[in-house]
C-alpha cells in the first residue's frame, strides 16, 4: 500500500550539478504533479502531467524539466542546480479525486 513514493529523501548538491528526482505511484492515477514548498510560500506547482507521455508547465517551471514515460512514474530534473532551488519537493498524483502526496525530497544547493 505504498501510494506515492519519492526518491531520494534528502540530497545536497553543489551549484551547477544536475540530478533527477523520482516519483512513483501505484494508484493508477492519470494526473501527476511536482510542487516545491518554501517557507511562507505554500506549495507551488512546478510541472504536471495529465497522462503518460504528456507534460505541462505550472507556476514556477524555470530551471526544471520533467518526463512521464510510464503512467506510474514522473521524473523531475534539475539540469544546472542553483541555490534558489533549495527547497522541499513534493510529488502528487490525482486528477478527478483529491491529490495524494509523497513524503517529499529535501534538496539543498550549496
Amino acid at each position: 500500500n505504498a501510494g506515492v513514493t519519492q526518491t531520494p529523501k534528502f540530497r545536497v548538491l553543489k551549484t551547477g550539478q544536475s540530478m533527477t528526482l523520482l516519483c512513483a505511484q501505484d494508484m493508477n492515477h492519470e494526473y501527476m504533479y511536482w510542487y516545491r514548498q518554501d517557507p511562507g510560500m505554500g506549495l507551488r506547482l512546478i510541472h504536471y502531467s495529465v497522462g503518460e507521455g504528456t507534460t505541462a508547465k505550472g507556476e514556477v517551471p524555470d530551471g526544471y524539466n520533467v518526463s512521464r514515460l510510464k503512467k506510474q512514474n514522473f521524473l523531475l530534473g534539475l539540469e544546472s542546480a542553483a541555490p534558489s532551488q533549495t527547497s522541499v519537493y513534493f510529488c502528487a498524483s490525482g486528477g478527478n479525486q483529491p491529490q495524494h502526496f509523497g513524503d517529499g525530497t529535501r534538496l539543498s544547493i550549496l
Partner: protein, 112 residues
C-alpha cells in the same frame, strides 16, 4: 490573478481548546476546496468541499464552505497535541485540467 489566503498564519493553543482556521479565495472556474494536514512529511487529505452550507465532519474536525462569500473554515474541537501541524487549504479549478492553488498554510501548535 487567482489566490488563496489563509489566516491566521500561526496559532498556539492549549489542549482542549477549540480552534477555527480560515481560508478565503478568489479564483476562476472554482471546482472544489480541499483541506490537508501536514505534519512532518506528506500533506494528508482531510476534506473536500464542493457545495455551500454542507458541513463535512470527521471526529473532532469539521469544515464548511460558503461559495457566496468565498471562504471556508476548518474547526477543531477539544484539540490534542497530535493536532499540531500545518493545515493547508487548496482550491481546485477546472481549467481543462485539474490544478490546485494552495494557501500558505496555518501552523497550529497545541501545548499539553
Amino acid at each position: 490573478e487567482d489566490k488563496v489566503v489563509q489566516s491566521p498564519l500561526s496559532l498556539v493553543v492549549h489542549e482542549g481548546d477549540t480552534v477555527t482556521l480560515n481560508c478565503s479565495y478568489e479564483v476562476t472556474n472554482f471546482r472544489s476546496l480541499l483541506w490537508y494536514k501536514q505534519e512532518k512529511k506528506a500533506p494528508t487529505f482531510l476534506f473536500m468541499l464542493t457545495s455551500s452550507g454542507i458541513e463535512k465532519k470527521s471526529g473532532r474536525l469539521s469544515s464548511i464552505l460558503d461559495k457566496k462569500e468565498l471562504f471556508s473554515i476548518l474547526n477543531i474541537t477539544a484539540t490534542q497535541t497530535g493536532d499540531s501541524a500545518i493545515y493547508l487549504c487548496a482550491v481546485d479549478r477546472w481549467l481543462g485540467t485539474y490544478k490546485y492553488i494552495f494557501g500558505t498554510g496555518t501552523r497550529l501548535k497545541v501545548l499539553a
